[in-house]
């Protein structure tokens, strides 16, 4: 909604975090959103509300207090089984009008990125995607939202001064969750789903958990990633062997995907997934900017390449100059030694 004065802004209070529910389970990113919400709420003397929409999710509401929520706004309705964008957006918009939050944070996941833009349009408010920094401007009370733009080449700070609530999404593993504190309690506010929440409804026929078609690189602590230098689909078997050895996942650059050596689900970079793993092992990846923006915030980057002068070899914490087909088997052997 449009606000024109500080007084009007002040009528919007509290920081909401939209719980990410997948296959009926609250996902860890919810705790991270609550952590971020807690910091913002404390800065402005406001409350943290977790918003939990789903079918049969009521039992998980109480668990959200331990992660920083003061209240849980709960809509538990069988019609919310599966991901019903239209219905959830309608319900959330109605609840926004009713309770007037100052801020609403959502996860930058498949679900959050479908739902939040729909809500932003319906509630007439601003939405900033993939924020890496959030703070309150003490002068205006506005949320300052920092996000990478232009493929990570620039950081932009965005403000939505004339609209409330202020909507932002955050990628998983960007914000810190608080320590779980089971002694914390709070209040559950139950709301109903209403017929008028959406004139259009889709039918979710089936839900598949499929680790093969969706490689969730975001959760991987260690990623072994290959590029043009891996040379073939068979070459990726070697990378898989190393990944299995260290309990990691396999990623790839666009060059390897386009060559057909491995499926798109493994692609890291601008048109693939963005990862922030503890260790990123780049094998035969030259390091074009489109790839770098998808992995350069990993903690430790290891590059293996015959060419010592590639951008990836310059960027890496550890750069091994050598043939990956000779070095990787030796690494596996070395790990096996102990």
């Amino acid at each position: 909604m449009i606000v024109t004065s500080r007084e009007e802004k002040d009528r919007y209070r509290n920081v909401w975090a939209l719980a990410e529910v997948l296959s009926g389970q609250v996902q860890p990113v919810t705790h991270e959103l609550l952590g971020a919400a807690r910091a913002l709420a404390d800065a402005g003397g406001q409350e943290v509300w977790a918003v939990l929409l789903g079918a049969g999710t009521a039992s998980q509401a109480v668990g959200l207090f331990a992660w920083g929520a003061d209240k849980v706004l709960l809509v538990d309705d069988p019609r919310l089984d599966g991901f019903q964008d239209e219905l959830e957006a309608g319900a959330l918009t109605r609840l926004i009008h009713k309770h007037r939050p100052d801020i609403l944070l959502g996860a930058a996941t498949a679900r959050g990125r479908a739902l939040m833009p729909r809500v932003a349009v319906m509630a007439v408010c601003g939405l900033t995607a993939d924020c890496t920094g959030l703070s309150i401007d003490p002068q205006t009370g506005d949320l300052l939202q920092t996000r990478p733009a232009f493929g990570g080449n620039i950081m932009a700070t965005i403000r939505s001064a004339g609209h409330r609530p202020q909507l932002a999404t955050v990628r998983p593993r960007v914000m810190k969750a608080l320590e779980e504190d089971r002694a914390r309690t709070g209040q559950i506010i139950r709301e109903n789903l209403e017929e008028s929440d959406s004139p259009v409804v889709k039918r979710v026929v089936e839900v598949f958990q499929d680790k093969e078609s969706v490689v969730n690189l975001g959760h991987a602590q260690i990623i072994v990633s290959g590029g043009r230098g891996v040379k073939s689909a068979k070459g990726f078997d070697l990378l898989r062997a190393l990944a299995d050895k260290v309990g990691g996942a396999v990623g790839a650059s666009r060059a390897a995907i386009d060559a057909g050596w491995i499926s798109y689900a493994h692609q890291i970079g601008q048109t693939g997934q963005t990862v922030q793993s503890k260790v990123y092992i780049a094998c035969g990846i030259s390091g074009q900017i489109q790839h770098l923006v998808g992995m350069q915030s990993s903690d430790t980057i290891i590059a293996i390449d015959k060419d010592p002068d590639t951008p990836m070899m310059q960027l890496a914490d550890i750069a091994i100059v050598g043939d990956l087909f000779e070095v990787i088997p030796e690494i596996i052997r070395e790990i096996d030694k102990v």
Partner: protein, 262 residues
């Protein structure tokens, strides 16, 4: 079936340069390309048109030079194209952009399906597709990786999520955003290229689409960029390991153990 495919012209990111003084992107002289995800949207639109007949229309908002991306869409098989271009559209955020595109889709009229790429690679927000659906009050399906069934009344789709995928059914009219898994885009045919050269692409202004001027451009955008800065640098000193593969492996594993990684 009447299908609108929304496309965007984006800067070729490999050319990205930051002005050291202003800390802003240098857009002058930068190569512009069709947003990579949009080629998949175009292809899906063309495939559905082949199956059901009707028409596929490419729609874009941007400066006059965005006509090049619309011509590319024509060369890839769309029947016609429309560009929204006017100073009043300038500075639009995703809210205002999706508003303008939704008004244009209404103006085109009788549209059953809107297909967008998952996101544009310059903004990376993935917000315009669902935004269009919201402005129109239509059903939406995002992250679509497969059209399992396409019928006269609606679609059966496979949507990707972090855990796998689901299968959902929705009725027209609807808005989809598609992933790269959905198809293999075609290449321009000679006939397509010639058609693209000849195509008279209309340029629409806010008045043409009956848009409320207060909802366009900077003034119509709830968000505003207040400052930009270069990203925090990676403070790393690269440790180089050379020698025999066995030596390299030994040194690496020892290093990783020291760092507590292995």
């Amino acid at each position: 079936m009447k299908i609108v495919v929304c496309v965007k012209q984006v800067p070729a990111s490999s050319d990205a340069k930051i002005d050291p003084e202003t800390k802003r992107i240098v857009r002058e002289g930068m190569k512009a390309v069709l947003n990579p995800f949009d080629a998949y949207a175009v292809e899906e639109g063309v495939r559905l048109r082949k199956k059901f007949g009707g028409e596929v229309i490419a729609l874009s908002m941007g400066p006059e030079k965005a006509l090049a991306s619309l011509r590319e869409a024509v060369s890839l098989g769309v029947d016609r194209a429309v560009l929204l271009s006017d100073r009043a559209f300038g500075g639009s955020d995703t809210w205002a952009t999706s508003y303008a595109l939704a008004r244009a889709i209404e103006k085109i009229g009788g549209v059953d399906l809107v297909i967008c790429g998952k996101q544009a690679v310059d903004g990376d927000t993935a917000q315009v597709g669902p935004g269009i659906a919201a402005h129109l009050g239509w059903a939406q399906a995002t992250y679509v990786m497969k059209v399992e069934q396409a019928g006269e009344e609606g679609l059966r789709l496979r949507r990707m999520n972090e855990d796998g995928y689901d299968v959902c059914e929705l009725q027209y009219p609807a808005v989809l955003t598609v992933l790269k898994d959905i198809n293999q885009p075609g290449v321009p045919t000679l006939k397509g290229v010639l058609a693209a050269l000849r195509e008279q692409i209309p340029v629409w202004t806010p008045a043409d689409i009956g848009a409320d001027a207060r909802k366009l451009g900077l003034d119509g955008s709830p968000t505003r960029v207040v400052s930009t800065a270069p990203p925090p640098p990676r403070h790393t000193v690269t440790r180089r390991i050379t020698g025999s593969p066995a030596d390299c492996a030994r040194e690496l594993v020892a290093d990783l153990r020291t760092r507590g990684i292995l």
